[in-house]
């Protein structure tokens, strides 16, 4: 008996002996690379840093994510402490990253470095997860986190709120640029998870009415430094 793998490949090769016509396209592709060819057709991500930041802030507002702009890391620490106080968070889990560690030193609540001694039950009981990110896509308002930049897979999705600390230099205009950046950075050793987060968790499953916080965080904050 032949195995399933070779059977399926034999079926595919047999099926593809007859060629299908190329689709009749209106578009003339300027490049074999999808993102380059499609760039002028997709939503705008801004041609300058200012334009991208403008689009990003509009997108985040529509997604009901909160953008907090601060000039430096000292004010970032203050903004974070204010947020913790305002939301009355008791327990915050964070990713042990050099950018984050100084921010949590003076938080008015319990702060736990989740990736040092991972415990899913304890993480579920946290009010917020605090992570860095890889890049931020202005075009779509998406934040790319990874299992490396965000203290694993669960920290950015299991606690009831998610706070991202990033620098303005991490904002890229569009999804194509962000994917290329991830590929250039990680090459053949991709993190086991890369996730584009676009607003707080949501569902429309009941009568197509929008509800935030289906299974992931109900609230998403981006503290953008610079």
């Amino acid at each position: 008996m032949s195995d399933a793998r070779s059977d399926i490949f034999a079926r595919i090769r047999e099926a593809l002996k007859v060629k299908a016509p190329r689709p009749h396209l209106k578009a003339e592709t300027s490049s074999p690379k999808t993102s380059v060819a499609a760039k002028p057709w997709l939503p705008d991500g801004g041609e300058s840093v200012e334009a991208s930041l403008q689009i990003l802030s509009e997108q985040l507002a529509k997604l009901k994510a909160v953008l907090i702009r601060v000039p430096d890391h000292v004010s970032a620490a203050r903004a974070l402490a204010d947020l913790v106080a305002q939301k009355s968070w008791k327990k915050v889990a964070y990713h042990g990253h050099p950018i984050i560690q100084p921010l949590v030193a003076s938080l008015p609540c319990e702060a736990w470095e989740a990736d040092k001694s991972f415990d899913k039950q304890r993480l579920e009981g946290c009010d917020a997860g605090l992570t860095t990110c890889e890049s931020i896509v202005a075009q779509l308002g998406s934040i790319l986190v990874s299992s490396q930049s965000s203290g694993g897979r669960a920290l950015s999705v299991l606690p009831h709120a998610h706070v991202v600390i990033a620098e303005v230099s991490q904002v890229v205009p569009d999804l194509g640029t962000s994917l290329a950046l991830a590929k250039a950075r990680h090459g053949d050793t991709m993190p086991s998870m890369l996730s584009y987060i676009t607003g707080p968790s949501r569902t429309g499953d009941i009568e197509r009415i929008l509800v935030l916080g289906a299974h992931g965080p109900k609230e998403l904050f981006l503290i953008l430094v610079g």
Partner: protein
């Protein structure tokens, strides 16, 4: 046993007469149309973006053997385990074996239509595993013991009162008419289940050949949790989900979100490369993928309809289809409803048994216009009708077509027939003719003209 066609005709007739339900579905889709149009307007050229999306899928599907081979090599390099399944039974056997080897008890699933296709939940439950659907819509449908109504919006036909009653009955919660509160009930109920589950089962929206990653699109965060907390992650995917480059997702992900749900981007678009890696603090110890054929190669072998394998399951064709909106998703009796389901189901399950779905279309072409990857849906419905008539003509096909052929080749007979038809037209209204009576019930025939078209033509020519 009633066949699929009889059941379909019966259910479709009942549902189409249910004005309340139709109004409810229309209302639910209203918000989708508004949001979809708002998001589409942000594209600088939606039509050309469709071309790019279609091309990305075309180039992968038409080179499937090579692209799939590349995906598998890279998936394994990332530390994942690949399994192949020729059909549904093989896929179920593989998953049961993984569960048995792992001595698993509890399984949590995120939305995966391919698992509906292979009736996975039944098989797992029969083998004694606790299986829970974590997507809110699928969770509700699982409690209702009903198949998904729409492959993107599984419980869009269920009113909040019914969901409240369902939760009271199964979860013992207090009744509420707030969608927010109902969502929170499911959230609280499922949280511990993710933590306790041994295995997480997901689908896959795209398989990226270049990097060996799988891409999963979702809004709720349930797939993220399903792939983060259990110690084993199993992904089940059709072989046609593969794309060449990571870069292709720069078009496919936003377009899937806009076409499918009127969003700029779905809330979580996640790429998985293997199980937990050294230096990572969480994630599963094992990552398996089951690559399923289940008659997809049969569709691949039809170059005319091969583009149906480009489908990214956004559901846009269902949302605009007048048939879907009137008869509802359950009447189809298929895993994939609406126009795309009517096109592919005859290939997956047999043309003779499922060709009636090709007739359930007004051929208005709204589906083809809505498709972000440009599948020629309404023409494929016609192709299926033609193929069915060729493959196994019904008595009506044979009598009618042979008769038509006979008459059309003989102009004198055509003229006599025409005269006879014009003279007897008023009678037709009253006769209980098969194929005609149901049409006539709600419609009046027009008055027959005095002259035939050919006679009229002759007169005009002489002017």
């Amino acid at each position: 046993m009633a066949d699929a066609k009889d059941i379909f005709l019966k259910d479709a007739t009942v549902n189409a007469a249910d004005g309340d339900q139709r109004a409810f579905i229309s209302k639910a889709l209203g918000g989708y149309y508004t949001n979809r149009d708002l998001q589409k307007a942000r594209y600088r050229d939606w039509e050309r973006a469709r071309d790019a999306a279609s091309m990305a899928k075309w180039s992968a599907v038409n080179d499937l053997a090579n692209v799939l081979e590349k995906f598998v090599t890279n998936f394994e390099r990332n530390g994942g385990v690949v399994h192949w399944a020729r059909d549904a039974a093989e896929a179920r056997t593989i998953i049961l074996k993984i569960a048995e080897d792992a001595k698993a008890k509890a399984i949590v699933k995120s939305k995966c239509m391919t698992s509906e296709e292979i009736h996975l939940n039944d098989a797992l439950e029969k083998a004694g595993y606790g299986v829970v659907e974590s997507d809110l819509g699928e969770f509700i449908q699982q409690l209702r013991g009903e198949a998904p109504y729409h492959f993107v919006f599984p419980c869009m036909h269920v009113k909040r009162e019914a969901i409240s009653e369902l939760f009271t009955k199964h979860l013992g919660t207090a009744p509420t008419d707030s969608p927010e509160e109902l969502t929170m009930i499911a959230r609280r109920h499922l949280r511990q289940l993710y933590i306790d589950a041994d295995i997480g089962i997901t689908g896959a929206n795209f398989l990226v050949a270049e990097t060996g990653q799988i891409s999963i699109t979702e809004n709720e965060g349930n797939a993220r949790l399903t792939a983060a907390l259990p110690r084993i992650h199993i992904a089940l995917s059709g072989i046609e989900k593969v794309v060449n480059h990571l870069d292709d997702l720069s078009v496919l992900l936003p377009m899937l979100a806009t076409a499918g749900a009127g969003q700029p981007m779905t809330c979580y678009n996640t790429l998985y490369a293997g199980p937990r890696k050294p230096g990572e603090c969480d994630g599963p110890e094992q990552f398996h993928i089951i690559l399923l054929d289940n008659a997809r190669t049969r569709l691949l072998a039809d170059p005319e309809q091969r583009d149906a394998l480009h489908c990214i399951r956004c559901g846009a064709c269902l949302n605009v289809c007048p048939i879907f909106k009137n008869i509802g998703g359950l009447a189809y009796g298929t895993t994939y409803q609406g126009p795309i389901g009517s096109v592919i189901t005859p290939h997956l399950r047999g043309l003779k048994q499922w060709n009636h779905l090709s007739g359930a279309s007004s051929l208005c072409g709204a589906c083809t216009d809505a498709c972000p990857v440009r599948i020629d849906l309404h023409h494929h419905l016609l192709h299926n009708r033609r193929n069915a008539a060729k493959e196994s003509p019904t008595l009506f096909d044979r009598v009618f077509h042979n008769g038509f052929n006979f008459v059309i080749k003989r102009p004198w007979l055509f003229a006599v027939g025409g005269r006879l038809f014009r003279a007897t037209l008023p009678l037709l209204q009253k006769l209980p003719l098969p194929y005609m009576s149901s049409w006539m019930k709600t419609r009046d025939l027009p008055k027959a003209p005095a002259k035939s078209f050919r006679d009229e033509w002759k007169t005009q020519e002489n002017v």
